[in-house]
Structure formats: structure tokens, C-alpha cells
Symmetry: C2
Subunit: 202 residues, 2 copies
DNA sequence: GAGCAAAATGAACGGTGTTCATCAATTTCG
DNA sequence: CGAAATTGATGAACACCGTTCATTTTGCTC
């Protein structure tokens, strides 16, 4: 019976993940400190390295939770039998909404880099699939002639485009631009792309 | 006459920028160390802080040079009187080509973050304009009814979308996808979007 | 060349993630 | 049940980071 050991271990991991999540939400990935996390979690500095291999692995777990929450947000927009155009627009809007409401956690998903030479573990790569999964079905309706690999490629491209629009707007790297409404710009973009897909199909 | 002083100062700045550029090209922003740069530039550690306020300012200057080179690469595709569709496709292809050929320097443009609370200086923000400037003219031909602020917004959106596609593909955050050719996927995307713009105009 | 101002130097500082000898808690087994 | 063995928690110490600063060296003025 190693029940108590396992319970304590899981409890510690949970407390560390929660503390890291709170710190990321408050001050972003860049402000994350091992000493702050362990102080918040109520354990010694070294305890972090008994629960996780290093800070990167802890961040990966926080990102997992963020991806799960993002997945739920998208799931709500992906159901129902609406036409593909409005489904894709609803998904883009939900993605933007999630990024706005969970800015720091969302940024951590894409800002985080593993140590040089270390690959992102497969279990975490697989979790990113939720980002494009919901796009496949509406795209299949718009492009019935495509096989699965092509559909997946198209879905990834569409996600990347929408993500790029949201990401570059929420940073502010450009000046001299009219303060246009991001949401209408994003939805207009999806509209235009869907129109293009329909046109090319004919 | 303070000629020799100024010359030495400029020489040191140049050597530091060049050394930082080489280090970034070789191992990326994350591997950049003040001690490595100053060793490569042949000066003492502290000399870096007589030439620049801090590492961030040095990185900004490297990014300036990268933006200038990227601007030249795009300039070559933006000239000529070709139709908007092929101009936009040529620009997207050139952007992808630059990102591929100058991977680390290009990544540094978007990975670099200033210290918390410190804004990117205006002179550097302005340099990012080259990324969307070349898109405005072809877009104006496609959308003659739009005024300048709307055109700039549309240009930024298009750039962000193209950038997103290139950025997410050159990282590898997704698995289980067919290894499709990025260039044809990107050009197909621009094609579809232009078709959509033409359709909506009618 | 003397005197002065400015720049270059590199040891030292405070802060980081990570490790490790030491100690405490838990499990195993006679 | 209690002693031995194993595992977990501890926090001082380590290596390394960007940055600073007293000191030395260099260049300019007169």
C-alpha cells in the first residue's frame, strides 16, 4: 500500500500546477520564478524537482490545462448543424474571446520554448490537435472533394491564419494603423476566405 | 576634434551588433549571452553597456537590420505592374523564403520581448511598417472602394494571416498531419483569399 | 606634456534554475 | 508491532546569468 505516498505526491503536483497557473495568469511566462511558485504552493524549493523534472515540465502541465479549457470553449461553438460559414465564424470568435479573456495563459501556449535540443513530448503535441479538430468538419462540407490529409492541411492553415491575426493584434507591433475593431476584422476575414473557397469550388 | 572617439564608439557598436547577429543566426535569441557577444566582438564585458543601454537595445538593433533585409527582399517582389493576385502571391512566397533562409533572425523579430513595463521604442515600431506597406497597393486595386484606414487594417490582417501560417508551420506544434508542402499551401491560401475578395466586391 | 574627461576593464553583485548531502516520513517485512 | 529500508522533503550551495562600479587606460584640450 503506497496510497499515502501517491496522494501526497499528487497533492503536491496539483498545488504546484495551480500556483504556476496563477503566477502565469498574473504576470506571464516571463515573470515565472521557481521560488515564487514553491512559496505559493507551500513547499521547499527543491520539492519542485521531486514532482517535475524541471520548470519546463511544470509549464507544459499548465499549458495542458489551458488547452483543455480552450477546447471546451471551442466545443460549444462547434456543435449544432449550422452552415459551415457561420460555424467557422463562431469558432474564430470563440478563439478570439478565449485569447482576450485568458491573455497570459493563452500567450504562454505559444511563447513557451523547450530547452535547446529538447523536443516537446508527444502527449503534449497531441493536445494541440483540439485547435484544428473542430475546423475539419465545416471545411469538409465546404470542400467535399478533398481527402483527409488535404483537409487536415487546410484546417491547420486556416487555424494558423486566424491565430496570426489574433496574435499580432493582441501584441502591438504596428503603429499608424486605424484602431479598427479586431472582432469585425477577424470575422470579415473568415467571411472572405469562405467566399473564396466556394468560388474556387465551382 | 572628437573624431577618433566617435569612430571607436561606432566601431564598437558595429562589432557588437555583428557579433550578436552572428550568435542569433547560429543559436537563436535564447542562446544569446552578453559574455559570448563581447568575447566575439573582442571587448570587455562592461564595454557592451557603454555602447548600449542593455542587451535589449542591442537586440533591437539586430532586429532593425533584419527588418531592413526583409524589406529589400519584399521590395523586389512588390515592383512591376503585375496584377494584384500574383503580386500578393509573390510577396507571400518571398516572406516564406526569407523566413526559411534566415530562420533564427526572423524568429527573433517576433520572439523578442522587452522588459516588463518597458515599451518598444517608436523608431523600431515604425520599422515594422515595411511588413504591411507592400500589401497596401495591390489590396487597393482589389478593393477600390476602401479608404486608407480600412486598407491599412486589411493589409495588417492579411500580413498577420500569412505570418501565422508561416510561423506555425516553421515551429512544429502539430502532429498527425500530412507533410504537405508549405509553399503550395500558402500560395493556395492567398489565392483563395483573393478570390473571396473579388467575389464579395460584386 | 600636464590636466582632464571620457571610455574600457573585469571583479563583484544580486538574481536565476538546478543539484545534493542531510534529514524526515513512509513502507516493507521479520 | 518495530526495526530496517526506501522514498520524499529540505534549503544551503552551485553554476551561470545580466548588470554595475571602482579602477585603469585612452583620447582630447590647452
Amino acid at each position: 500500500m503506497t496510497a499515502k505516498r501517491d496522494a501526497k505526491r499528487e497533492d503536491l503536483r496539483g498545488r504546484l500546477i495551480e500556483a504556476a497557473q496563477a503566477r502565469i495568469q498574473a504576470s506571464g511566462l516571463a515573470g515565472l520564478r521557481a521560488r515564487d511558485i514553491t512559496a505559493d504552493a507551500g513547499c521547499a524549493l527543491g520539492a519542485l524537482y521531486t514532482a517535475f523534472a524541471d520548470l519546463d515540465e511544470l509549464i507544459l502541465h499548465v499549458n495542458s490545462i489551458t488547452l483543455a479549457r480552450l477546447g471546451e470553449a471551442l466545443q460549444q461553438e462547434a456543435t449544432g448543424a449550422a452552415e459551415p460559414r457561420s460555424r467557422l465564424k463562431a469558432l474564430a470568435k470563440a478563439y478570439l474571446g478565449f485569447a482576450r479573456d485568458n491573455r497570459m495563459a493563452w500567450k504562454a501556449l505559444f511563447e513557451h520554448r523547450m530547452a535547446p535540443g529538447v523536443a516537446v513530448p508527444e502527449w503534449h503535441l497531441a493536445e494541440h490537435a483540439v485547435l484544428i479538430q473542430h475546423l475539419v468538419e465545416p471545411l469538409a462540407q465546404l470542400l467535399p472533394a478533398l481527402d483527409t490529409p488535404d483537409l487536415l492541411a487546410r484546417a491547420r492553415t486556416l487555424f494558423s491564419a486566424v491565430h496570426g491575426i489574433v496574435a499580432i493584434s493582441l501584441e502591438d507591433r504596428f503603429i499608424g494603423l486605424a484602431p479598427t475593431d479586431l472582432e469585425s476584422e477577424l470575422l470579415g476575414f473568415v467571411d472572405t476566405l469562405v467566399s473564396g473557397l466556394k468560388t474556387e469550388r465551382e
